[in-house]
């Protein structure tokens, strides 16, 4: 009898230990308490909220106690709406941001160190280099959806007519002098050699993306000095001044939508910012020429994705920007709730959802599970563009680790209050490259101190 009792007790113990182990292994099964998670999402890809609804349905099969409320926003009001909610303490549990704005939320005190709440072992799924985009002061604040590679695109026939070996450029890159020669040859009475979207807020994109030409891959150098006070910046500004004064590029701000129209209508040879995804847009427009749905005045264009050219002495890089989801603290946040938030956040940033989101942008997922899910997907992309995109992905440099929220915030302020306005004036021919550079240095020295700014050449 005693033996039987001992056996029963032992069995009970083994079973309870086993169930505990099972629970620990599936750390996601944290609690079956009902919880509501709010997410604010702009149209990251076409029909994103519809896809989100499908993913929520799948997620709820695993976690029926977690209810997800989606607030759809437009790109136009995403930031101001999010910031207003954050300031009032009513931030959504999850928000979508571009990585450069991370500092604002860290500075506000609403960003959360996700390593404390992430399901165990899940962080390893994400590419470590890409997590760097969501890291400030060595703290990880969000999960990336994709890293967009932003460079230039062009009309293949025009480029070849201008003497450019397109295949070589796509696979090996090109120098700034080769680029300058190409846009010189490509400029005619009806066509600009080069058009970059640089009106309004897109001016910052112009600086970031075209900055890689002069070796400026991030706001800060590896030793955390502000980069836009370097000699590289002056070289970049001189180059822009030369391109505009030569008439190879419009001397007025070009709206974001206009530059693609100019490419499709043959009014420019090379455009920016451009992404691999534009191949689909241009092909759709080509198809519409016959049935009249294309942009008025369209010509047949074979779109080629191009790397930015490189000036002498700089390391070739490609500007990449991480789009990420960020968990946020609000008036109702508890540790238990944050664990639930991270369950859902991890779900939509990995596997099938990540594969779909990145794939629709003609990009590779930035997590292992996403790439596995993408293996079965095919893209309607030319070989040359696929090769150029793959090459550019390998050239993306994540921001240096150790940048603080305050540094990031100050860099954003200088960009918006000095660089963007002065760049608009430079484009309009109302200031010189040197005057603009001096104004940037003055503002940067005020914000970071002279020692906090790089004034030499960044190789």
């Amino acid at each position: 009898m005693k033996k039987l009792l001992a056996l029963l007790l032992a069995l009970t113990m083994v079973l309870s230990l086993g169930s505990m182990a099972f629970a620990a292994e599936g750390a996601e099964v944290i609690s079956d308490v009902e919880d509501t998670i709010t997410i604010m999402a702009p149209p990251i890809i076409g029909g994103y909220t519809d896809f989100l609804a499908e993913w929520i349905e799948d997620f709820n099969k695993m976690y029926p106690n977690l209810h997800i409320e989606v607030t759809a926003t437009s790109w136009d009001d995403n930031v101001s709406r999010l910031n207003t909610l954050c300031l009032s303490g009513d931030a959504p549990d999850i928000a979508n941001i571009e990585c450069q704005t991370l500092g604002t939320y860290v500075d506000m005190g609403v960003a959360v160190d996700i390593t404390q709440y992430m399901p165990e072992g899940r962080l390893e799924d994400y590419d470590e280099s890409v997590l760097g985009y969501m890291t400030l002061d060595d703290t990880l604040y969000g999960l990336p959806l994709y890293v967009s590679i932003q460079a230039m695109g062009g009309n293949k026939a025009m480029l070849e007519a201008a003497g450019v070996d397109v295949d070589k450029v796509q696979t090996e890159g090109w120098t700034y002098d080769e680029f300058l020669e190409a846009i010189k040859n490509g400029t005619t009475d009806d066509t600009y050699g080069f058009v970059f979207a640089n009106a309004g807020i897109t001016t910052a994109d112009f600086v970031h993306i075209f900055g890689s030409v002069a070796g400026l891959s991030n706001d800060f150098t590896a030793d955390l000095k502000y980069a836009y006070t370097s000699e590289n910046m002056l070289n970049l500004l001189n180059a822009i001044e030369e391109i505009i004064s030569s008439g190879y590029m419009p001397n007025y701000g070009v709206e974001a939508g206009t530059r693609l129209v100019m490419l499709e209508t043959g009014e420019c040879m090379i455009t920016g910012k451009a992404m691999p995804l534009f191949e689909s847009n241009v092909n759709t427009n080509n198809a519409g020429i016959a049935d009249g749905t294309a942009v008025e005045g369209s010509v047949e264009v074979e779109y080629v994705f191009l790397p930015c050219p490189m000036m002498e002495g700089v390391t070739e890089t490609c500007y990449g920007m991480a789009n990420a989801f960020l968990p946020l603290r609000n008036n109702n946040t508890t540790d238990e709730h944050l664990k639930n938030v991270m369950l859902f956040l991890d779900y939509i940033c990995s596997g099938e959802p990540a594969a779909k989101t990145a794939g629709d942008c003609y990009l590779s997922a930035v997590c292992e599970s996403g790439r596995e899910a993408q293996a079965s997907m095919t893209l309607d992309q030319s070989e040359g563009n696929a090769a150029a995109a793959a090459r550019e992905v390998s050239l993306v440099v994540a921001p240096p680790s150790g940048v603080t929220g305050e540094q990031s915030g100050s860099a954003n302020t200088i960009m918006d209050e000095v660089i963007v306005p002065k760049m608009q004036a430079l484009i309009a021919g109302e200031t010189t490259a040197q005057e603009m550079y001096d104004a940037i240095c003055e503002a940067a020295f005020d914000a970071f101190g002279e020692d906090g700014c790089e004034t030499g050449f960044i190789a």
Binding site: M108, G200, R329, I427
Partner: protein
């Protein structure tokens, strides 16, 4: 009668009669709205202006936000831009509204209503929509409406919103051509309130049209003009949406208004304390301007 008007004694001296209570009840809703949506935010903004505001744990920073605001070159540039914008738009708007009202007045009631509606449409339309239309009108490429007009007359095209020479002027022109509906209606109401006997007497004396305007219409419309001038200046100092939508403050911050600067600090950079300090400074500036206007122009005006 005395019994019906029962009184409530309060602290021995202040007497609130029953009909006073009904009066207070009538204004209660408006008072609550005023307190909640005007006074409370104002007090809250004053408090926040002394803080490094964070949603979860603000810290007191005394006058740091004010010092930062006042030592910021962009703040002063925004003040200058706002004053220039106000100086150009408000007087011109009044002149346009007054002239249009004078032109509409002689029409019959139906035609008057038609023209009043026509001029008021921009006020009904969303400012964002209006701005989008004006962005197309000012497009720097040859596709822009104004540039098409210039090209038609073989004149060089302009970078309306992207050149420092024309950006502010473009915003002013937009304000002048699309923002006079309310003023026109108020002026028409004022003109219709002038007793016809003044005009009859003037006609007997052989006064011309311009003499009637100079000696009858303008003096009798002075309270309306002062009202429109003061509210116009206040609104102009708070202008935000057209610079936000049309130029983003550029080029070279030449169209950055104080309202846009406050918005950017609050909702773009999350510097809510600094934004509140700038808003309080703007309030003080508007209050001073309004007081000066009342002092200078309002001494002989009775409402």
């Amino acid at each position: 009668m005395e019994e019906r008007k029962s009184t409530i004694r309060k602290r021995g001296k202040i007497r609130i009669r029953e009909d006073h209570i009904s009066g207070y009840l009538f204004i209660a809703v408006a008072m609550v709205v005023f307190l909640v949506f005007t006074i409370y935010p104002l007090i809250s903004a004053i408090i926040t202006s002394f803080q490094n505001y964070k949603p979860f744990g603000s810290t007191w920073v005394q006058l740091d936000n004010y010092k930062t605001a006042l030592s910021n070159k962009l703040f002063w540039k925004a003040c200058r831009n706002t004053i220039i914008y106000t100086a150009l738009t408000v007087p011109m708007s009044l002149v346009i509204a007054f002239v249009v009202a004078l032109m509409i007045l002689p029409f019959r009631r139906g035609s008057q209503s038609f023209f009043k509606s026509l001029y008021y449409i921009p006020a009904v339309a969303s400012a964002v929509v209006t701005s989008m239309v004006w962005i197309w009108i000012y497009d720097s490429s040859d596709a822009g409406l104004f540039n098409q007009l210039l090209a038609f007359f073989h004149l060089p095209t302009q970078q309306w919103l992207t050149s420092s020479k024309t950006a502010m002027l473009s915003l002013v022109l937009m304000a002048l051509l699309s923002g006079n509906g309310s003023s026109i209606i108020i002026y028409i109401a004022a003109l219709m309130g002038i007793d016809n006997t003044y005009f009859e007497a003037a006609e007997v004396d052989g006064a011309t049209f311009f003499q009637k305007v100079r000696y009858i219409v303008l003096p009798l419309c002075k309270p309306t003009t002062l009202f429109l001038f003061i509210t116009g200046v206040i609104n102009s100092f708070q202008v935000f949406i057209n610079a936000y939508m049309m130029t983003g403050g550029g080029p070279d911050n030449n169209t950055t208004m104080i309202g846009l600067l406050i918005f950017n600090n609050a909702f773009k950079y999350g510097k809510y304390g600094l934004a509140c300090a700038q808003a309080i400074l703007l309030t003080i500036l508007i209050a001073v301007m309004t007081a000066i206007q009342f002092k200078v122009a309002g001494s002989d005006v009775e409402y």
